[in-house]
């Protein structure tokens, strides 16, 4: 019963919450509590999915499919598979974390903030559960708006500029994505992902390969900007440095990477195959580039931005190896990074709340003052640098090992990132926590991690450990979905090369 | 001797072009307005010529309506021109360029 409408429920509970928030009076912490309640409710609902997921089944589950608009043929089609399953749960999990992280920082205009925050939740969940590409595109674009407005409203000092930059960077390629979508629709007569996939795999001959190639590229660029893949990352550090924590947590990574996996690999396997060498090179460059710049960053937010580029490039790398292991690793790494990266951003945020600066150079010796915080930083840092038995390792290892199997030299180069990430992360920890307390730290008495922050972070930290040691629980769902994809790509190569050969 | 239709058409085209050129050259708003009238009348000539050619009165009826409309336009136009003159004390069209870019 619930299974039939669970996805809609999950998607729109935040919207309903947002509407209620808009109507609530601005009194006390009422809006915060209500939003927390809604986000916890959403999270609880997302837990229904893994509980009732049919493991081992291929295809989509919890499907809902109703006609929405008859002409063009658009359906309200929702469904998840092993890839989106955990991403939906992840969004649910990060929700309460984000609310708690914003609890004190967002003091004014809470109504606007939480309204847009909840809208953003809907948009993100919508992206993951939509199986109609039109619907998907709707949520995809929708996710830009709350983000941009919140960055503008709550930016540090250059918020408006960062908001515009972010929007332009993501909106421009999305326009091309729309061209691609409509073009596909013109050919296939459907926006349904599954039908389009079938159509493309069965009628590959009837569509000019050249055109299909451009369409796949339009898709890829739109998604790559959102990841962001080097060198399309120009927006990330500005957005990270301006956005409120709750927004920076969710802005990068999952939407773009999920979309690449779902659409580029799902619809355009042979084109993905063609573009793979370039993407692998960019991913490896991204890993090293992000790490090297993070090494010399003084601003915590920009630091984490470049570290994010590095980490997400691992995912890109894993995708374009087209191995089951690598794709598993990618999705897993995605979960890990979103979790640990979010935790790190929150940690930076709560340090900022206390000392009022993101400049690492002004810190020093915090460990003796705030030992609990130091511990949380340490564990999160270790998770991010991929220490075994914490979550980061599993994903990275799977990605790198599968890359190495296919492209030994790129794999080896990417593995260098492991060294660099340790270098910059430890450098950050050292600057902030070790040494004699700096002037800033010594002159200001601040509380250690308080209960509210603990509620936001401790579950995340525990999850880091659990994800690190109990990966099969997650991967069994992921594996079912990605193995089909990997075979799809492998199969596509064969057909594509033969058609090319015939053409010549 | 019947004057060929083309003569009328060419004449009206020339008149129309003169109207256009006058619009571009003249500086006094009243003159510009007159040049518009010239263009409209060039069109009227065309209508009449075609009406004659097709033996259709509708073309001539059209002319009447155009004349009526031109009259209405003239009324409104002169009112606007007066408003312009009140705010600027000039009818030089080149001075009516407060809003630009």
């Amino acid at each position: 019963m619930l299974n039939d409408s669970i996805l809609s429920t999950i998607t729109f509970v935040p919207t309903v919450g947002a509407i209620v928030v808009a109507l609530l009076p601005r009194r006390g912490k009422l809006i915060q509590w209500f939003t927390l309640l809604i986000s916890l409710l959403t999270f609880a609902l997302t837990l229904h999915l893994p509980a009732h997921f049919q493991y081992g089944q291929t295809g989509f589950q919890f499907e809902e499919n109703h006609p929405w608009i008859t002409s063009p043929n658009i359906h309200y089609h929702l469904g998840i598979d092993g890839i989106s399953l955990w991403l939906v749960v992840l969004v649910g999990f990060l929700g309460p974390m984000a609310v708690l992280a914003s609890w004190k920082v967002i003091e004014t205009h809470t109504k606007e903030f939480y309204f847009l925050f909840l809208l953003q939740q809907t948009a993100m969940i919508g992206v993951f559960v939509s199986l109609d590409m039109f619907l998907y595109y709707g949520f995809w674009e929708l996710s830009l708006v709350p983000m941009a407005i919140l960055i503008a409203m709550f930016g540090r000092n250059r918020g408006p500029q960062a908001a515009i930059k972010f929007f332009l960077y993501t909106f421009l390629p999305s326009a091309l994505l729309l061209v691609g979508l409509i073009w596909l629709y013109a050919k296939t007569g459907t926006f349904d992902f599954v039908e389009t996939q079938q159509y493309l795999s069965q009628n590959s001959g009837s569509i000019a390969p050249q055109a299909l190639w451009w369409v796949s590229l339009a898709f890829l660029v739109a998604f790559a900007v959102k990841v962001p893949v080097f060198p399309l990352h120009g927006w990330l550090s500005d957005v990270f440095s301006e956005a409120p924590t709750a927004m920076a947590m969710v802005v990068a990574g999952k939407l773009g990477l999920y979309s690449i996996i779902r659409f580029n690999l799902g619809l355009f396997p042979s084109q993905s195959r063609e573009v793979a060498p370039l993407m692998i090179a960019l991913a490896v460059i991204g890993i090293l580039y992000g790490a090297l710049i993070a090494l010399v960053q003084q601003d915590m937010k920009r630091f984490i931005a470049f570290s994010t580029i590095g980490h997400l490039s691992f995912c890109t790398l894993g995708i374009f190896c087209f191995t089951i292991v690598g794709l598993n690793g990618t999705v897993y790494q995605l979960l890990n990074h979103e979790l640990s990266g979010a935790a790190m951003l929150i940690l930076f945020g709560i340090l900022y709340e206390r000392y009022g600066t993101y400049d690492m150079g002004l810190y020093g010796g915090v460990a003796t003052r705030l030992p609990r915080m130091a511990t949380l930083y340490l564990i999160t840092m270790l998770s991010l640098i991929g220490l075994p038995i914490l979550n980061g390792f599993v994903g990275e290892f799977l990605i790198l090992s599968s890359t190495f199997g296919v492209h030994p030299y790129w794999g080896a180069a990417a593995t260098l990132g492991v060294i660099l990430s340790a270098a910059y992360m430890l450098g950050m920890i050292q600057k902030i926590f070790y040494g004699q307390p700096s002037q800033l730290v010594a002159n200001k008495t601040v509380p250690d991690v308080v209960a509210r922050e603990g509620f936001a972070l401790v579950p995340a930290v525990i999850l880091m450990l659990v994800l690190g040691v109990a990966s099969p629980y997650w991967i069994r769902a992921i594996s079912g979905a990605v193995s089909g994809l990997a075979q799809n790509v492998a199969h596509a190569t064969a057909t594509f090369t033969t058609t090319v050969a015939e053409k010549r | 001797m019947v004057v060929p239709i083309a003569y009328y058409l060419v004449l009206s085209a020339i008149l129309f072009s003169i109207g256009v050129a006058a619009f571009l050259i003249k500086r006094n708003i009243i003159s510009i307005f007159m040049s518009i009238e010239l263009m409209l009348n060039a069109v009227n000539l065309t209508f009449v010529a075609f009406a004659h050619q097709w033996h259709q009165v509708s073309g001539q009826i059209f002319v009447f309506f155009v004349m009526v409309v031109a009259a209405a336009e003239a009324a409104v136009g002169l009112a606007i021109i007066i408003a312009i003159f009140r705010t600027r004390n000039t009818l030089d069209v080149d001075h009516v360029d407060l809003m630009k870019l």
Partner: protein, 654 residues
Amino acid sequence: MTSSLHLWLIPLVPFAGFLVNGLLGRRFPKALVTTVALIATLIPFVQVANIALHFSSLTLPYTEQVATWITAGNFHADFAFALDQLTLIMLLVVTGVGFLIHIYSVGYMAEEEGYWRFFAYLNLFMFFMLTLVLAENFLLMFVGWEGVGLASYLLIGFYLTKDSAANAGKKAFVVNRIGDFGFLLAMFLLIAHFGTLSFSEVFNQVAQHPEWQGGFLTAIALFLILGATGKSAQIPLYVWLPDAMEGPTPVSALIHAATMVTAGVYMVVRTHVIFDRSPFALSTIAVIGTATALFAATIGLVQTDIKRVLAYSTVSQLGYMFLACGVAAYSSGIFHLLTHAFFKALLFLSAGSVIHALSGEQDMRVMGGLRKKIPITFWTMTMAVFAISGFPPFAGFFSKDEILYQAFISPNGLGKILWFIGLFTAGLTSFYMFRLWYLTFFGESRAQATTAHDDHGHGHGHGVHESSWVMLTPLVILAILSGIGGWVGVPEAMGGHAEIAHFLSPVTGAAHEAAEGRSMELLLAAVSVTVAVIGWFIAHLMYFAKPALPAQLASKVRGLYSLLLNKYWVDELYGAVVVAPLLLISRYVLKGLFDTGVITGGGMAIGYSAQGLGALVQRVQSGNIRSYAGWLALGAAALLLLTYVGFGTHLLFR
């Protein structure tokens, strides 16, 4: 014996100790912290001892699969533990020495802030180290491998407010990561070629394919060597270990002498099946080991910080173990690992006792004359010095001699050279150890003027005093072990039974026997003892008989002296060649030029050019009605012209 040994308990009990102390230790009284930490170490020790007692009744190798860790596609890794002879020895060393050092720490760290934190970290280290040695596959071993690095990082940086400690911790971790990079690549290669990371499966496959020689196995082996050089502080990655002495002394003893740094040796021995197929890799290890041994020993000659001397000595001794592995004398390597664990732990703990006695002073130049003041420490230290210098019948003699002998008889063409360098290094070892001995314990105290202490946090009084019994007991036990520990490997040439070699032979294979036989072995032993004596004699001459001599000598060969004193400027070299360029490139080329210039600037350039076009478009809006009419007319003309001329062009755009 029951069917299950519950090996998983061995690492997990210390982990539980870590969790308890780590989460709650801040609020615990010290005694409770101590109890938890010691029990968490004692239980594994007892369990290991129990296993050791029943060892003969076990069917080996014994494996225990606890749970699946990762399974994706065709890749699979388990939480699986294995027990064999090699593991047992390592377990005994780790739990035994580990437990002793825990006890010692109770005394040594008694006054420190963050007592609970220290023990939590120590337990964490035990967890990872035991995981490392118990692991049945490469991946789980890597867990321990990285984990001990983490524990080491935390413990080196234990004194949070000390910048040098933080730097050293970071350096240790990062340099180790370079090694881990090798380990990772080795694992990737293993996966690519074997499809598994399980030791038994990999080794079985290798065994089934005698035709596999060199090739990818060499590649795997070389990457493993890179890993090992990181963890075991060999050239070129040894640089972190001397700096790691910033940590509390028990840490140096446990992690940076007895256990963690030997992980590289353990790993090579564990995977010797692969190395056996690659003479090149073996030679590489041997050369690295020998070079490191010599190199570190020469630096050790002139160091003045007591712990740094010991650190370089550790690097040097690890070089010996590598040499043993390089000549495929794995059991000899493990033998030396064992004895080294005893005497080097003892050396560090004794040095700790000295430092403790001097309230934190580590500079040997201001020591001296401590023999009478701290006699027990003096005697235990003496045992250790004799052991490491290779005097019979102390432990070091047998193991080091075994290695040199194996090098000498090695079929490897380099064997003799390696032997000679090893021998020379033995002399150097003897010299610098006795130098330490003399400087610390003999002569007059040079401490009066200068030991107005820099504050190392040892808030004792100023009087020199012997340590408490909680510290001395481990010293005594280790001293006994340093004395007799070598007797488990007395070679047959000297009337022993080489028990350890026989014990390990199911794992490592039988040791080499030379054609020349026992007389040769005895002769070589005599030579090395002689060399050790010469070293002692020179030290005696320079630091006891004629204390002015070292300074004269140093001024005579000033270049060489300063080269050694500055550790061959290797740190500076790495800094100038690797670190500085990397940072410079990152800061100026990547961040400054590329990210700001190309990425941000490119975006801005596009933005500005669009705005420029916009300005151009706006130029049309002159505000002048006549110009507007002109545009209209022009547009109309264009439109009419296009209509008239026709439109071949537009088709291009459809």
